[in-house]
Symmetry: C2
Subunit: 379 residues, 2 copies
């Protein structure tokens, strides 16, 4: 067990109508609010109105930045930062899923910084301060609402990379499962894949942390028990709540305490697929994780089997991988590239981009040959 | 699933030699330190010296309050508060187990308050501020290092009750498993019982919170897997670390999110036994929990069985209760009153004290007849 620190400052407000407390929470940080959101679905499902109602109650001065893409890009963050530098907000209010929250996180560093957002991402700038972030979550998936991680894509340089910085933990996150009712079936499934693979990236990380292992399996079993039922009953509060809470716990530190590192090789692969073909993040992971496991099955059969025993009651590493694929297929998440319309002719392009982006794991390093094999195994 | 808030501000420093960061952490709050500890075992095992070395590094002005008892009493807190009111510390440094930390928590409220510590405990005073607390944990058991709960006994009025107040979360807690090496076998076992029963009090609480249920079982399985091995190898770092971490997670909120309440009836019973006979807290719980479960087995057989299935792989509520008793016995924790030298002649006295203290559960209420039955079942 490695030394660790538990120091997650995000206050999570979870449950029915918790957004009622949003206004007074924002007010603690000030009245100048930069509101950031996505393509505008929050204007259709009533969330925008509720949030604005809260801001009106405190006489907030609000400017908006709309149009964060599902695979968020640094160019949007730069545009938002320009607005932000003029406006000098007291607080950034991110209303959306992981893409909006991740953008808000980098934005919170970029506004008070003289460097561009991308220079912050690639650690060429060392921000010392951040605008406080408050989030209202509308999609259960990334866990961004309670961690210090953000992932952005650079359209120009064709990179998609993560950043981690203690300054970007949201101060408060509001999670009302009702706010996820309007997420369609496919994106609900991708969110389930995302949370499961976050927990798996911890499982396959370095170091022996048995209680964290048990928490990993708890979260995955929860998602596997209630996820499929949710997909048949998208407006079911209890099911939405269970998945939403599981997604938060899957990537807020709980699965990691006592480890040296997580794995994260599969996420790196997934980011390449999103970068090239704008595939939803979760759908890249349901393809990439089985492929990575097949590569690893003769190297770490025992670790794969330990996982399979608890989660699938399987007796071999092979059967564990099949069971995972079957689960993903059962919730209609793709497990092969052709299921997402990417033909075999794209293999060289995918491989090139992986090499260019230096795709690798944190625990198990991937050689060029390994990456070639993974690309084959995704088909 | 009930609405909930995750808002635990304690920063946990876990692992080998983490106390190296104690001095600079204390310094953030100031240099006037009230150091509180127990009977002096920390002077024998080197912990006192290490802590004082850290305080010397920051030129701290230190006063000490020594002598907190294993079942801590409010009278000691009042005496410490008198010292504290004179000294006006910037920070209270609690070095010890749950009894020392619980005492420090009430002390942190009592120093800036005009009321006595007991008036604070019984909610007759409403403290609005607290002296910051930093803890160095030397016993894995109560979870007090990362929660807002304190339990104290009043010798004069013969009461032992808990208080919960957000002001008394420790700011920082330092958990070095090496600091628990000198805890003897019996107290190590009582700590294991304590952490298991904390998780069980969550399990038998009110409300459906499936992920929290899984966390409960994770913590208990961890304690059951590594606890017995630890008792045969008391200086094993990895085993000490696993139990120490499990104890913290057993009562820091993680097992409770989404529930209406915990149960806590068994702890209320245990407090009476400590109050009357000065029995170690954990040893009261290994006697009281099986008795409570026997009372409840025809009322909530399904809930007991669900627990047994996951934790013991049992097929009935009865077998689950036996399995729990067997586990406690296997680690030499008592499961009957006569094992702790309290004969049947004490039954009326125990019953009287339970009624006087209004012993009850939070979820399942206990009638006078129920309490009578539990007393019988403890023999």
């Amino acid at each position: 067990m490695e030394n660790f620190k538990i120091d997650n400052p995000t206050v999570l407000h979870f449950g029915r109508n918790v957004v009622r407390d949003l206004g007074k929470t924002v007010e603690k940080y000030g009245r100048k609010v930069l509101l950031i959101y996505g393509g505008g679905s929050i204007k259709k499902n009533g969330i925008y109105e509720e949030v604005m109602g809260q801001l009106k109650q405190i006489n907030a001065e609000v400017i908006e930045f709309r149009g964060i893409k599902p695979n968020p890009i640094v160019e949007d963050v730069n545009a938002a930062a320009e607005k932000g530098k003029q406006f000098q907000p007291d607080v950034i209010l991110a209303v959306g899923g992981g893409s909006v929250i991740d953008s808000a996180k980098v934005l919170s560093l970029a506004i008070p910084c003289e460097h561009s957002a991308w220079r912050i991402m690639i650690n060429m700038a060392k921000p010392t301060t951040a605008i406080p972030i408050i989030t209202v979550l509308t999609l259960a998936a990334t866990g961004s609402e309670m961690n210090s991680i953000a992932v952005l894509q650079n359209v120009e340089t064709h990179k998609k990379i993560p950043i981690r910085n203690d300054l970007i933990y949201p101060k408060h996150s509001f999670l009302d499962p009702q706010y996820t009712f309007s997420v369609p079936k496919d994106y609900t499934a991708y969110g389930i894949v995302d949370l499961i693979t976050h927990a798996m990236e911890a499982w396959f990380g370095e170091g022996s942390a048995t209680l964290s292992d048990r928490f990993v399996c708890s979260i995955i079993l929860e998602a596997m028990e209630y996820g499929p039922a949710l997909l048949d009953d998208l407006n079911n509060y209890e099911l939405r709540a269970r998945i939403m809470y599981a997604a938060t716990q899957a990537l807020n530190g709980l699965t990691m305490y006592g480890r040296v590192s997580g794995e994260w090789g599969v996420h790196a692969i997934g980011h390449i697929l999103s970068l090239l073909y704008d595939i939803p993040h979760g759908a890249t992971l349901s393809v990439a994780y089985p492929a990575w496991l097949k590569l690893m099955k003769d190297r770490i059969p025992q670790r794969i089997l330990e996982f399979g025993k608890v989660v699938f009651n399987t007796s071999t590493a092979e059967k564990t991988i099949s069971a995972l694929e079957n689960f993903f297929s059962s919730i209609e998440a793709p497990v092969r590239m052709n299921e997402i319309g990417i033909g075999e002719d794209k293999k060289p392009e995918i491989l090139d981009m992986m090499i260019k982006n230096k795709v690798n794991g944190m625990h198990y390093k991937l050689s060029k040959e390994d990456i070639e094999k993974i690309v084959e195994l995704m088909y």
